[in-house]
């Protein structure tokens, strides 16, 4: 939830909003990252850290925020099986972080949101997709740039229908990202006149996916939607093995699994013609090159744009608020994200701000316009297609921009 919601929601768990400490700007904008270094989502860590690092590099090269370089502390969010995140937040709060970027997992974010927002610090996730955060009690301090599943699911569903798939099978990772997206795709596809003949929510940690794929195989749908993260490579293997190759069935993927180095190792043509949706208007290639300068070993790029945008937005909001205190930053975040002169990088935007212009930051992950709940209100989804080399073309087939709410 965002500023507008606070009054009605806070009764649920938090002390009254007034208990959030008053602005305490100390002059230096301090960012904390709470991103996975270990645990089941650790593979998402490197691109997210790289996104923040890249933004920070650019911000500090452009002169920092409020005349001072932005400070940053990295911590591990682990996964829900350990209590690392809570410890990390303790440390960041002790180090006087003004905003915390993280966590990757919705569940982890949920477990620390009270603590972070209770301390009057901005909680900004680049990757949370759970719809709970729209209504959560957060004193107006929670924001996210995460890919809005609603829009992506809609675009993907529409694409599937438009491609003429009257029977569709969905293989979705069983977590809030996977099921959220799958729900949306399923709804759109059904509304559009196609039939979802089988939907399998699988446990991404499962020892193997043959049974899950066998369920799809039993219905032999024309279109197969793969929603998940890197375990999709295993699902692909299984699809090929069980005789459901991309050459005979149309496969669709999502941002979580379109970029995966394992695809390249697969025989030529395995993914030929497969389509995938990725939020964001920019050509991913350029941005990826810049990220590689920060971390040359980077292979996966999931949520790097969102992380990058998160850091930029916080910096801009601090500039706009002329304060680095979390509460002040939060108050300005929506403002810098929409309604004003469009600008695309921190330098460009901050120059406008200093000139007294109202800005509208458009990020790599999309136009990023926050609604009153702190969720992105508008997004752009690119539709990409794989070629014979199992890589998708850098240029999207099509971009669709839309209101997330509808």
């Amino acid at each position: 939830g965002g500023g507008g919601d606070t009054a009605t929601q806070s009764s649920q768990s938090a002390a009254p909003a007034s208990s959030a400490p008053a602005a305490k700007g100390d002059g230096t904008l301090t960012l904390g990252t709470l991103l996975p270094q270990t645990g089941s989502l650790a593979f998402l860590g490197p691109p997210e850290f790289a996104g923040v690092d890249l933004a920070l590099k650019e911000i500090n090269e452009a002169g920092g925020v409020l005349g001072k370089p932005v400070a940053k502390f990295d911590t591990d969010s682990g996964d829900t099986t350990t209590n690392i995140a809570s410890q990390s937040v303790d440390k960041l709060l002790a180090q006087k972080a003004d905003a915390i970027i993280g966590a990757a997992s919705s569940s982890v974010s949920e477990s620390v949101i009270d603590k972070i927002t209770g301390a009057g610090v901005v909680h900004f996730s680049p990757a949370n997709t759970s719809d709970k955060f729209t209504t959560i009690a957060d004193k107006g301090l929670y924001f996210r740039t995460a890919p809005p599943d609603k829009l992506q699911g809609r675009v993907l569903g529409d694409l599937i229908v438009a491609d003429g798939n009257d029977t569709v099978g969905i293989l979705a990772m069983q977590d809030s990202y996977g099921t959220g997206l799958a729900d949306q795709v399923q709804k759109t596809v059904t509304d559009g006149g196609a039939q979802v003949v089988e939907r399998v929510d699988y446990d991404p940690k499962a020892a193997d996916f043959s049974a899950d794929v066998a369920k799809i195989k039993a219905k032999a749908p024309k279109g197969i939607v793969l929603i998940g993260f890197e375990e999709t490579a295993k699902v692909v293997q299984e699809l090929v093995k069980q005789g459901l190759p991309a050459s005979e069935h149309k496969w669709y993927m999502v941002d979580g699994n379109t970029s995966n180095t394992n695809y390249v190792k697969m025989p030529k043509g395995t993914l030929d013609g497969v389509k995938g949706t990725i939020p964001g208007a920019a050509a991913p290639e350029e941005f990826q090159t810049k990220l590689k300068e920060v971390n040359p070993k980077l292979e996966d790029f999931s949520y790097a744009p969102e992380s990058y945008d998160a850091a930029n937005l916080i910096a801009l909001a601090a500039e706009a608020a002329k304060s680095d205190a979390g509460v002040d930053v939060a108050a300005k975040l929506a403002e810098v994200s929409k309604g004003g002169t469009k600008c695309k990088s921190f330098k460009e935007c901050v120059d406008l701000l200093k000139a007294g212009t109202d800005i509208d930051y458009d990020g790599v992950s999309g136009p990023v316009e926050f609604d009153e709940a702190g969720d992105p209100a508008v997004a752009t989804i690119g539709i990409y297609q794989y070629g014979d080399n199992n890589k998708y073309a850098t240029k999207a087939l099509e971009y669709r921009t839309g209101n997330i709410a509808g």
Partner: protein, 328 residues
């Protein structure tokens, strides 16, 4: 180097909510394993059903907090009975696996899309701790000395938490020096001998399972109350493993073993992690990036446990003579 942060976070960890939660889980495990010899590797399930019992009652069924607590307790009792009836006749090592399996079943069911309406799927449930904090007698503010201290919410949770921990320790102390405790310890050594002396071994094992489960289930409550949320994956096997590590670190079958073990555990965890992070970010370890801090921290923590147990296999309070007796 930000020594102050390292110090404060470490001190906080020693008496913080993690120590309460894991300490309670470990006290339960200590009753099961340390005193009765039941290798219950499903402790996390007790915490899970308790946490979920509270959460679902309050959020889904819109019942008051106290009903939630009762439901959580009842759930733990039911779980103990369900788990105990088939498994308590098994040999120790079989019991271990069966209880892990049971705990995984519980977790997977809580996690499933199929039951999402009730348990909330992989995101779990939140928003059930309002009533608890509404009872908070501490006015808003910071309680502590200088940088050491907690806000009023944490203070309230810790106050209740430590009272429960100490009460549990007292109960364990009283029970274990009584004839009841003697029967448990005897069961640990040789069930058949105890049977031959006319004790109903099954009943005692069940009582032990219940008691340890109920104490553990308070850990589940506090977890949920502190975080304001319960999620299925929190209650995975890892939590049980950690509880066991804590019991062994502190010394099995020792009243305060689990509490001190939990302190050591979290101090080690936090200290190593934060020290390492500081060292890396200050450039003392140039070949490491901050992303690598996470795994290396675990490497060091793992190493720390190993060393502690190699140096003191009986744990902090344990009796060397006791483990020298070959129980095999």
């Amino acid at each position: 180097m930000d020594w102050l942060t390292i110090l404060t976070t470490t001190v906080h960890a020693a008496i913080g909510w993690e120590t309460v939660v894991y300490g309670l889980a470990a006290i339960g495990v200590n009753i099961h394993f340390g005193y009765t010899g039941l290798l219950n590797f499903g402790q996390s399930a007790f915490m899970a059903v308790a946490g979920y019992g509270l959460a679902v009652t309050v959020t889904v069924m819109n019942m008051p907090f106290w009903v939630g607590i009762l439901v959580g307790l009842a759930a733990a009792v039911v779980l103990a009975l369900l788990l105990g009836i088939p498994t308590l006749q098994l040999r120790a090592d079989y019991l271990a696996i069966v209880t892990i399996a049971a705990a995984e079943i519980v977790r997977l069911v809580f996690r499933s899309v199929y039951f999402k309406d009730i348990f909330g799927g992989s995101d779990g449930q939140r928003g059930f701790n309002g009533d608890f904090y509404a009872m908070n007698p501490y006015p808003t503010g910071h309680y502590g000395i200088g940088p050491f201290g907690f806000d009023e919410r944490t203070m309230w949770l810790l106050t209740v938490g430590w009272i429960v921990v100490l009460l549990s320790c007292l109960v364990v102390y009283l029970l274990m020096k009584s004839p009841w405790g003697r029967v448990l310890k005897a069961i640990r050594e040789d069930e058949d001998a105890v049977r031959a002396l006319g004790k109903n071994v099954f009943a005692y094992k069940m009582q032990s399972l219940l008691l340890g489960g109920i104490i553990g289930c308070f850990g589940g409550f506090f977890y949920g109350l502190y975080n304001g949320a319960v999620q299925p994956d929190v209650f995975g096997t890892e939590m049980t493993f950690f509880a066991y590590t804590i019991v062994i670190l502190g010394g099995a079958a020792r009243v305060f073993g689990p509490v001190v073990g939990a302190m050591i555990f979290w101090v080690l965890f936090v200290f190593v992690g934060n020290l390492l992070a500081e060292l890396v970010s200050n450039g003392y370890i140039p070949f490491m990036t901050t992303i690598q801090v996470g795994p290396i921290r675990y490497v060091l923590v793992g190493l720390g446990f190993i060393l502690l147990l190699v140096i003191r296999p009986q744990g902090i309070f344990g009796d060397k003579r006791e483990i020298a007796i070959d129980a095999r």
